[in-house]
Symmetry: C2
Subunit: 205 residues, 2 copies
Amino acid sequence: MALSSTLLENAVDQLATLPGIGRRTAMRMALDLLRRDTTAVQRFAEAVRKLREEVRYCQDCCNISDQPVCGICSDKARDRGLICVVEDIRDVIAIENTRQFKGLYHVLGGVISPMDGIGPEDLRIGRLLERADGGEVREAVLALSATLEGDTTCFYLNKRLHERGVAVSMIARGISVGGDLEHVDELTLGRSIADRKPYEQSVRR
Amino acid sequence: MALSSTLLENAVDQLATLPGIGRRTAMRMALDLLRRDTTAVQRFAEAVRKLREEVRYCQDCCNISDQPVCGICSDKARDRGLICVVEDIRDVIAIENTRQFKGLYHVLGGVISPMDGIGPEDLRIGRLLERADGGEVREAVLALSATLEGDTTCFYLNKRLHERGVAVSMIARGISVGGDLEHVDELTLGRSIADRKPYEQSVRR
């Protein structure tokens, strides 16, 4: 579609770069922004610009943080010997919401993906190994996606962390809690049978 | 969800104000923006800010335009006696894409909606009536949504335009071209029977 204004054209082009947004939706967003006050739109643009310009990451776990060390890493009540390795900030939020994990985190910023040209050096793995070298870390829990890329990353991290005397575990894979058996895919179902646990252990929690 | 950074919190809040975007999607967008170059994000924010700050509307049809008079209004080949009245810019684009309309447009900027506190004075109806008073306009084609608000607006416009000696027509309502009868709702089907046309006229185009 050809638009009668290059300003609108530019804004639609930029909005369409957001993940999951096509040109039609971008157009709807642009028209919505046009209906707002100038100051409201300035506030919007400012929040986005500042996010990227002024963003800081925790020097220990690489989680996004306004302080040099994030709230989780500076919490004395947490188990400093246990580190949960995740892909991005969303995973930290999701795991925190479960209230099941009392250790620290390490945010990799992605997974190893040769297809996208992402190698170990593009992720925050160096900092993780430094923390492992520090001697305080007892166990690393790998909580990465159950994809080929996630598995590749787990394989690589296990090797590197094992050399440093850190025990490595992976989060359990199986059927969803509350899930219907008939809707579970074959791979997951097969895996959940292979990884079965004695009844007493399974119902404990 | 509580985030570890107010910068991120702000950006997610702002992105979630976009139409159809919830906090989960806004979070995904924010993380995507974080992965980009600072200059790319600046360009993004700038395009959005400029859109609202520097936007101009055509002085005749109120369509968005970088010039005082838009490309359609300044096109000498178009029929200046025929004006298609639409809700917003998207409708102009959609109708232009059909290549079936050779007249000019008038963009109202919405429809009359007492529920949302939008009256005739909140729309660009004054300018439309001025154009009608100019004497050049022969016919106004109302191409508004087939909703209660759209119909209310049509009723109001018909009255105002009729007083000024302008013929008023509405775009046809009926079943979609290529549409299956069994999926058509009852109101539309009833309307399409009431508005039936002689066979010779129907197949002409």
